[in-house]
């Protein structure tokens, strides 16, 4: 129901229609900001990231390709991208040596998972194998790259990729299609 509508909002935004852009802001500000807060744990930076995401939508709306996902998935993927970029920059600035800080990878994965509040997503994640859950939590909520995850977990890169893929497909089965809960 909502998809064709949002698709036209994106199309109008691509043509420079500020009203359509405002409508997108009102639809998505909360979920984008919440995701940034969840990943960064810092409201100040999350505001900057949210602004960056909306500028990205304003300038990149014409890049939206419906074959690769609906508008919601595209917007939230952009929000995730900007959030993990910000968290990686912060780690570089604070010169935190990524593989030396915390020794126990499950701790870090557990920390990353603290951002998750929805019971539905928690339940779905709990059906994964531990390795799959760690890989996905570290990547999605922790903002770590596949190489960093492989180093942390002490497994080959190929294994990390496979765990991500299998875990994601399993999550898909658990979460089903996009539900009508909070976006």
């Amino acid at each position: 129901m909502r998809t064709p509508d949002e698709q036209s909002l994106l199309a109008r935004t691509a043509r420079g229609d500020t009203r359509a852009f405002e409508a997108l802001y009102d639809l998505y500000n909360r979920s984008i900001y919440s995701l940034a807060v969840g990943i960064l744990g810092d409201r100040e930076t999350a505001q900057e990231v949210t602004q960056e995401v909306f500028l990205g939508i304003w300038r990149g709306a014409h890049d939206f390709d419906p074959r690769r996902g609906d508008p919601r998935a595209w917007i939230l993927s952009l929000a995730h991208h900007k959030s993990v970029d910000a968290v990686r920059r912060r780690r570089l600035r604070t010169a935190e040596p990524l593989n030396e800080t915390m020794t126990d990878p499950t701790d870090v994965a557990g920390q990353a998972l603290r951002a998750v509040e929805s019971a539905r997503v928690r339940d779905a994640l709990s059906t994964l194998s531990e390795g799959q859950r760690e890989a996905i939590a570290l990547a999605y909520y922790g903002g770590y790259t596949q190489q960093q995850i492989a180093e942390r977990l002490g497994v080959p890169l190929g294994t990390v990729k496979t765990r991500m893929r299998d875990g994601m497909l399993r999550l898909r089965g658990q979460l089903g299609s996009v539900a009508e809960t909070d976006r």
């Binding site: 998935a73 920059r89 990729k161 893929r165």
Partner: protein, 239 residues
């Protein structure tokens, strides 16, 4: 990578965790592979669900105005110059005219400024085109801990080169990216830059490239960077 290997990398790509090289290959492959497009669509539905799993918080209301003003094409300053004519009508008229001419002038100045900036950009882009046309020009891809599309093109014969950057995130208000040419243990600054959303950045560099082994980018304090790198480079490429 083969189709199967790329398909295996799609989940990492959807999680924004793929290496820059993998991401580039996946993106190129997605252009033509419908199967992987469908796969990515499914994976992105899952990441969108992961996004909705975080605790919901409202951003401050002021953020809306900030975002909306950031996309407005330059607000027009309404500062009419007051005339001191006796007749109220003439004064009002003069005021209106002054206002119009002022705002027209302002706009003209803004347009002029943009033209100058566009001209500069065109000139640097032409430099890169000339570089690309030269048979002795080489390119180096930079990779590292952030996802970005960054290439260094250089012609050792003409001693001309340029860094071409797209898709690099903002380094934070007080920071800039700094480009380094590295000979042995000696990094030499080759300029600083800040990314502009949605537009590639070109940093021209003139140097004797035979002397250097690598180029690197680090995040440094703005506006003018630092004499030596103070943070670990986020992107490195060998030349």
């Amino acid at each position: 990578m083969t189709h199967d290997e790329l398909r295996e990398s799609l989940a990492a790509y959807a999680l924004n965790a793929a290496s820059p090289e993998d991401a580039r290959e996946v993106e190129a492959h997605l252009e033509t592979c419908e199967e992987c497009q469908r796969d990515l669509k499914v994976l992105r539905e899952v990441t969108a669900d992961l996004a909705s799993g975080v605790g919901m918080v409202n951003p401050p209301a002021a953020l809306r105005a900030r975002v909306l003003s950031a996309i407005q094409p330059q607000a027009r300053p309404a500062i009419p110059r007051a005339g001191t004519l006796g007749l109220a009508l003439a004064a009002a008229l003069a005021l209106i005219l002054a206002g119009i001419s002022f705002s027209l002038n302002q706009r003209l100045a803004a347009v002029n400024q943009r033209l100058v900036a566009l001209n500069d950009r065109l000139a640097t882009q032409e430099q890169v085109l000339v570089l690309l046309a030269s048979p002795t020009t080489k390119t180096a891809a930079l990779s590292g801990s952030v996802q970005a599309k960054v290439r260094f093109v250089y012609d050792p014969e003409r001693k001309q080169g340029a860094l071409v950057v797209s898709d690099l995130g903002d380094p934070g208000a007080e920071f800039v990216y700094q480009l380094w040419l590295i000979a042995g243990q000696e990094p030499q600054s080759a300029g600083v830059f800040r990314p502009v959303l949605g537009r590639p950045i070109i940093v021209p560099v003139a140097a004797d490239f035979g002397r250097y082994q690598a180029v690197a980018i680090s995040v440094e304090r703005g506006p003018s960077g630092s004499p030596r790198p103070t943070t670990k480079p986020i992107l490195v490429g060998t030349i």
